[in-house]
């Protein structure tokens, strides 16, 4: 009898110990995850300490700080769509998503108690972004006076290196109240064209079609018939090439050559040959029709279902050119391009590198996280080698860098006010340290408008590491 009793007693003490550990765990979880929940009446702003911490770029430039009690954004409009603003009760961007992280640490939480216990600083913390100001400046400058977006990220981690949007607005005017939040939201400058602008990807989509072809047993050297026109079965209008004639000037063309010169007839035919399931399949693996997990939010890129594509082969042919009903955000294209340079593995994009106390202790660090394998490493390697030809001898020559292989792909998408100019870039092609997606709206072809911007960014990035 007493043996059973001893066991019952041991289990009871185990329960007390478990509850102690569980209480601690739940407290920390509740304190970090739910303290900011808008439904939590306790999270209403306290009258006490309203100071906020600073936001800095990866290379140490201050992007937001309290100056004499006023929230100030020293870099002004360059970072509006990242850092956001605080204007009265309203806030946006990092200022909103990290509102809790920017609060002073002396708030009675376990974290603050531990920090003070070990002599740390409880001043408002620093939120350090992954964005590199050196690159961001070039991107902002290139976009000045245009409508468009530039986003660059590290293919290996998903860390965002540049995130520029035009038109934009000075957040200081919002913080001071010179411009009301209502006026700002009604203005085109409030649209984040990196993550929320949905456009047809144009020929940049051919990278995914080529990847699907490679997955279906073709190689870069697979030969196609080179024709001046392609008419899908039961389709009304034929598809032609940008040059008007055939792509190679001859009667045959390899997949490699077709991607380099962005041959419409080849890819239209390829899309119909591969079929709707293969096209929508690879696009959905690449994140279409799903929410991209991103701190600042992102619109859902979309592609029709396989059955819808197969039911209209003319539309399927146009889908192969990234037209018709395909819609994508520049951020999504950048994540896809980055995966080609990361052995086919897509990484979750992130913009906050770390939250630090003012004396440099890391409170929180964002780790890289995989979004899954888009394509096999061998397919990715073939694709990158084909994309190198785009820049060395194809439509993307304007992005070439002396002595360094750059992989790229141009795109020209139909737009109401003129064609949208796309460019994707990966460099250095052997082990890419940057993946870029650029879109300039209504200004011309990808090779002439967007590719030169990529060249300037690559020059800065690769020139002084």
């Amino acid at each position: 009898m007493s043996r059973a009793m001893r066991r019952i007693a041991a289990v009871s003490f185990g329960v007390v110990a478990l509850l102690t550990a569980w209480l601690t765990f739940q407290q920390v979880l509740a304190g970090t995850t739910y303290s900011d929940d808008p439904r939590n009446l306790r999270s209403l702003p306290e009258p006490g300490d309203t100071r906020r911490g600073i936001v800095t770029s990866a290379d140490g430039v201050i992007l937001a700080e309290d100056r004499d009690g006023t929230r100030t954004y020293p870099e002004g409009e360059s970072y509006l769509h990242i850092v956001g603003y605080v204007a009265g009760e309203d806030s946006a961007g990092i200022e909103s998503t990290r509102a809790a992280g920017l609060r002073p640490l002396g708030d009675g939480s376990i974290t603050s108690w531990l920090i003070t216990l070990f002599g740390g600083s409880v001043e408002p913390p620093e939120v350090r972004l992954t964005v590199v100001d050196r690159i961001q400046r070039v991107a902002v400058e290139a976009l000045r006076g245009r409508t468009g977006a530039v986003v660059a990220l590290d293919p290996a981690t998903g860390a965002i290196l540049a995130y520029a949007v035009s038109p934009t607005q000075d957040p200081n005017e919002l913080a001071s109240g010179d411009v009301t939040v209502g006026e700002h939201l009604a203005d085109p400058s409030s649209l984040d064209r990196v993550a929320f602008r949905l456009l047809p990807p144009g020929s940049t989509f051919k990278t995914l079609i080529a990847a699907a072809a490679l997955e279906h047993g073709m190689s870069p050297d697979t030969v196609f018939e080179d024709t001046a026109e392609y008419l899908a079965p039961e389709a009304g209008l034929p598809i032609t090439n940008a040059t008007g004639g055939t792509c190679s000037g001859g009667t045959e063309i390899t997949l490699r050559e077709a991607l380099a010169v962005s041959c419409n007839t080849t890819f239209a035919g390829l899309a119909v040959e591969l079929g709707g399931a293969a096209i929508s399949g690879i696009a959905e693996r690449a994140g279409f029709n799903a929410v991209l997990p991103f701190e600042l939010g992102a619109a859902i890129s979309s592609i029709p279902a396989a059955a819808d594509l197969n039911s209209d082969l003319g539309a399927l042919a146009q889908t192969g050119l990234g037209e018709r009903d395909v819609r994508v955000t520049p951020l999504q294209m950048a994540v896809i391009a980055a995966s080609f340079g990361n052995e086919g593995q897509m990484m979750r994009p992130y913009i906050v590198d770390a939250v630090l106390t003012r004396d440099g202790t890391t409170l929180e660090r964002t780790g890289s996280e995989s979004l899954g394998q888009l394509i096999d490493p061998t397919v990715a390697a073939d694709l990158v080698s084909m994309m190198i030809d785009v820049v060395s001898s194809g439509t993307g020559r304007a992005a070439a860098q002396a002595g360094i292989d750059v992989a790229g792909k141009t795109g020209t998408a139909e737009g109401a006010g003129g064609p949208h100019s796309w460019f994707l870039a990966l460099a250095p092609a052997e082990t890419p340290s940057i993946a870029i997606a650029i879109v300039i709206e209504g200004e011309g072809t990808g090779g002439t408008v967007a590719a030169p911007i990529a060249a300037r960014i690559l020059e800065t990035w690769l020139g002084s590491p």
């Binding site: 043996r3 019952i8 509850l19």
Partner: protein, 429 residues
């Protein structure tokens, strides 16, 4: 521990009640009111009386039992008052009554010891079943059943303008432990033998299994008719643990566990109120405005706590529905922090250690099983309610012993303290 230390600790708890109540009123800008004095006086009278009764009628009882009980009662008295002034004042009357009942129990057992309880065991069983059935009386009579929060656990005694509600199930709990202990002390050899076998599984005589099936039936009836998941699990769990302790046969534990698991999963499918509890546990934020509201508010309160809490009276525990009963622990953690939570858990740990110690040392099977059963009652109640409010399991409405508001619960738990003291005294004579 010496008698002097016990007395000093009880005085410290008295001071805590007075100071805590004063802090609550001070924080809410009411100044130090008469309440602080009354609360401390009532507390001192209750525990002083209890201490006197133990020293007079169970003089050899352990000195370790009262201090943790006093700490828990003190914290409960402060926090209930903090959440609801009227409930807090009412709780003081209950505390006096509970101490009086504990003293009466000690006085009655002074002559012949707990052994006398064995003689009345079928009377206790009948009384316990009667108490369990009492809430099913029709409402409207001077003494009638009442449904509160969807559970029919209450009996309302009407005095014209005023009404007094109490849960007879709380008293039934203690009576049933006495019955179980005396029944099992007698039958344990028969239950421990496993003469029959089906393949590798060895079984006792089927007639020996009748009581366990009966206990399960009663527990299930409580669940069905009174819609009280917590009491149902408590009753059955108590019986299974005692059966295991009496026989040393883990098979009973396994069989009981399987019955609980199948009963619980069956109940989840059949009873919408059980299903709702499970949903609120797993996804409190999905139905925030509805079923998940209470659990979600508990999470918010917990998030506010930090290491030392907001301070007594400075938090907002009243935002949680049933803060003074089911969620009293979370309310205390919000205002006294993890430090306060750890203190409560430590007090329970000490209380259990004393209870199990009495059970293990007692030579007589009846006294030993009785002490164990009373302690296990406290363990199960604490586990069910703390596991529920901390989202380790679905929330079942049950009181946190000594801390939650609730008259019947306080009376029953002080009865447990009196019985444990008496058993402790007897095993040393």
């Amino acid at each position: 521990m010496t008698e002097r230390a016990e007395t000093l600790l009880l005085l410290a708890a008295t001071l805590l009640v007075g100071a805590g109540t004063a802090v609550v009123t001070l924080t809410n800008e009411e100044g130090i009111t008469f309440d602080a004095f009354v609360a401390a006086t009532v507390f001192l009278a209750s525990f002083g009386g209890l201490l006197f009764a133990i020293r007079s009628w169970a003089p050899k009882a352990t000195r370790l039992l009262l201090p943790p009980v006093a700490l828990l009662t003190a914290l409960g008295l402060i926090e209930v008052f903090r959440i609801d002034r009227d409930l807090g004042r009412l709780q003081r009357y209950w505390l006096l009554l509970a101490a009086a009942i504990a003293m009466t129990v000690l006085r009655l057992l002074h002559g012949r010891g707990v052994e006398v309880l064995r003689r009345f065991r079928y009377l206790f069983l009948a009384a316990a079943l009667g108490f369990l059935l009492l809430p099913l009386l029709p409402s409207g009579l001077p003494l009638g059943g009442a449904t509160i929060n969807g559970s029919r656990l209450w009996v309302r005694l009407d005095f014209g303008e005023r009404a007094l509600s109490f849960q007879p199930g709380e008293a039934a709990k203690v009576l049933l432990v006495v019955f179980f202990a005396s029944y099992l002390a007698e039958r344990r050899r028969g239950l421990a033998e496993m003469p029959r076998s089906i393949g590798p599984i060895r079984l006792p005589e089927p007639r020996q299994l009748l009581p366990i099936i009966l206990a399960f039936g009663v527990s299930f009836a409580v669940l069905v008719y009174q819609r009280d998941l917590g009491a149902s699990i408590l009753l059955f769990g108590l019986f299974v643990v005692l059966l295991y302790a009496a026989t040393d046969r883990p098979a009973y534990l396994i069989a009981g566990g399987m019955l609980i698991a199948s009963g619980a999963s069956g109940a989840q499918n059949v009873f919408p109120h059980v299903q709702a509890r499970v949903d609120a546990w797993l996804h409190p934020f999905q139905d925030f405005a509805g079923g998940g509201f209470q659990v979600a508010q508990g999470v918010f309160a917990l998030g506010e706590a930090g290491m030392f809490g907001t301070g007594l009276g400075a938090g907002a525990p009243y935002l949680i529905p049933a803060a003074a009963t089911d969620f009293i622990f979370v309310a205390l953690v919000e205002e006294t922090g993890l430090a306060g939570g750890f203190a409560i858990l430590a007090a329970f740990g000490l209380l259990f250690a004393v209870g199990f110690g009495i059970a293990v040392r007692s030579g007589d099977p009846f006294r030993s099983l009785l002490a164990l059963g009373l302690t296990v009652t406290l363990v199960l109640q604490m586990t069910l309610i703390l596991g529920g409010v901390l989202r380790l399991m679905p929330l079942t409405g049950i009181t946190l012993p000594f801390v939650s508001y609730g008259g019947s619960s306080l009376l029953a738990n002080f009865g447990i303290v009196a019985l444990l003291s008496r058993i402790s005294h007897e095993e040393r004579t």
